[in-house]
């Protein structure tokens, strides 16, 4: 292969230009005109909805890109609220799905509300929470919504964040009791008290992200640990354990923070580049850290890789080889209620044969999946396969199973 300097050649773009198909301008013009008309209808509809609901519920009007985040409590809307009607009309598109461990379901929706600029795509987000047999709708007022489950049925919603690298304007706790603003403290967590959970929050521009201990009684989050080893390309999941400690799983390591705030780090040997190799990081329902990753050695990027799962057992990192798979940038794991681990990597569904994950059975392709872009979630008493970023594809199913083989569809409508 030629030297990199020779390869980085503008001939690539020129050849692409030559091969480009150029649609007739009239088609593009029609498309743009339709966009303009839809934007006008949505803007009028939003004004009407705001006027109609202002006297009914205490909902704040979605503001322009103001840095003044609302304080206090945000009221849920009802089935006649703006978001509910936008969902029904199709103006709001399904954006993401979070399945809670208490059988709750939080669904994120996005809606076009203003003209896009370079710094603002003109989108606002809201979410619906299905729990305890009831549906609740948030206002479509968030600039971005990054969700993590704090504890069963209680979610942290970071407003203004889409992923790693974004800084949230505010953080809220969303559960059946309402949407309440979380106060982010600057002083370190005091481990003499027991917290409701831990979360990774992107609230400080000086740090890529920090781990926070959350106390729901005072609605306060305190910084616990700071990630300093490079930039995360994905957010590892953090889960609390019964003794008050928690696991932080990400990059090529698993860190245990005990009830006194002491950290113990475990490094996964053989993961040369976590940004490419690591497919998923989770803490299972029974409190075990799991890292699913591709081992590229021997071989290169385009050769079959060894799919591996690492955990910590009896104070040591244990890594098991699950099988050889083709390269995939996707992978997820979830624990079945009986302790066996289910792993989904691209097109392959694997299930360990025992709760110690020593051997694995290939369950074969999942026949009902329309694509490989699905991820596993742990839910109450089962595991679920949900599409990664449904982005308005209302017909993309989410299904759940207790054994990894029989899958039942889930109704995502609020």
């Amino acid at each position: 292969m030629r030297d990199l300097d020779e390869l980085l050649d503008p001939v690539v773009s020129r050849r692409a230009s030559d091969a480009a198909r150029t649609p007739d301008f009239a088609a593009v013009q029609r498309w743009g005109v339709q966009r303009r008309r839809r934007a006008r209808v949505a803007a009028v509809g939003a004004v009407v909805a705001v006027v109609a609901t202002a006297s009914a519920v205490a909902v704040e009007v979605p503001s322009d890109r103001s840095d003044t985040a609302p304080a206090g409590v945000i009221e849920y809307e009802g089935p006649d609220g703006e978001l509910a009607r936008a969902i029904e009309s199709g103006e709001a598109k399904l954006h993401d799905v979070y399945l809670g461990r208490n059988d709750s379901l939080l669904t994120v929706w996005r809606q076009r509300v203003s003209e896009p600029t370079r710094s603002d795509p003109g989108l606002r987000y809201g979410f619906t929470l299905n729990a305890d047999g009831s549906a609740r709708w948030s206002p479509a007022r968030f600039d971005g919504v990054l969700v993590s489950e704090l504890r069963a049925g209680s979610y942290l919603v970071q407003d203004g964040a889409h992923g790693v690298g974004d800084v949230a304007r505010a953080v809220y706790v969303a559960d059946v009791d309402g949407i309440r603003r979380l106060d982010v403290a600057e002083t370190s967590a005091d481990f003499s008290i027991r917290y409701d959970g831990f979360a990774k929050l992107s609230v400080d521009r000086r740090a890529s992200s920090q781990v926070y201990a959350v106390d729901l009684e005072t609605l306060t989050a305190w910084p616990v640990a700071e990630e300093t080893d490079g930039a995360f390309l994905d957010i590892g999941t953090i889960g609390p354990t019964d003794d008050g400690g928690f696991w932080l799983v990400g990059e090529d390591r698993m860190t245990y923070l005990d009830g006194d705030g002491e950290q113990t780090r475990y490094r996964i040997a053989g993961m040369r580049d976590p940004s490419i190799h690591r497919l998923d990081a989770e803490v299972t329902r029974d409190g075990r850290p799991v890292s699913v990753w591709s081992d590229f050695s021997p071989g290169g990027l385009h050769d079959p890789h060894q799919l591996k799962v690492s955990t910590v057992r009896d104070g040591e990192v244990v890594t098991n080889h699950l099988g050889d798979v083709n390269y995939s940038e996707l992978g997820s794991a979830a624990l079945l209620p009986d302790g066996r681990l289910l792993v989904y990597a691209g097109e392959t569904l694997l299930r360990t044969t025992d709760p110690r994950w020593r051997s694995v059975k290939d369950l074969g392709p999942v026949e009902w999946l329309p694509s490989s872009f699905y991820t596993l979630h742990e839910a109450a008493g089962e595991v679920c396969l949900a599409p990664i970023g449904v982005m308005g594809q209302q017909d993309r199913e989410t299904r759940c199973s207790t054994d990894g083989q029989s899958w039942e569809p889930v109704d995502l409508t609020p």
Binding site: M1, P23, G32, D96, E115, L301, S371, I388
Partner: protein, 164 residues
Amino acid sequence: MDTDLVRQVYAASYRRLVGQLYGVCGDLGEAEEVVQEAFARAIQHERKFRRADNPEAWLRTVAVNLSRSRWRPRILGERLQRKAHRAESSQPDLSPDHVALVAALKQLPAAQRQVIALHHLADLPVHEVAEAVGAPVGTVKARLSRGRSALAELLADREEASHA
């Protein structure tokens, strides 16, 4: 509504923009889509487009922003859905080495891939790349440096594997 300006820019710049976005997207069909979408938005926001100092740069920025969201893992489903419904589009006639380069680019983080593609493959000066991606010139230079190192390593891995 007068779309003559957009029509003129479309005739003059569409193919060039697709070529520039090809390295960013890694796929010709996707590059065509984001550029078409950018022109549709120019029509939707025609007054704003008219006020732009450099209409082609305006379109390029919009197209880069559109391509950015495609590479976030959580919304890969949409990209796959579009691929399934889109007619098979031809890909550029590239040498095997360049095909490998584009494939390796896809493995880079989006921020590095964008600057590498726009500066080296699309031959844009650094200050125009900075405008397109919405980052300071210094940041673009740092991403170029890191991106080249990562790219070299990926290509070396591939080369090593092919000789094994």
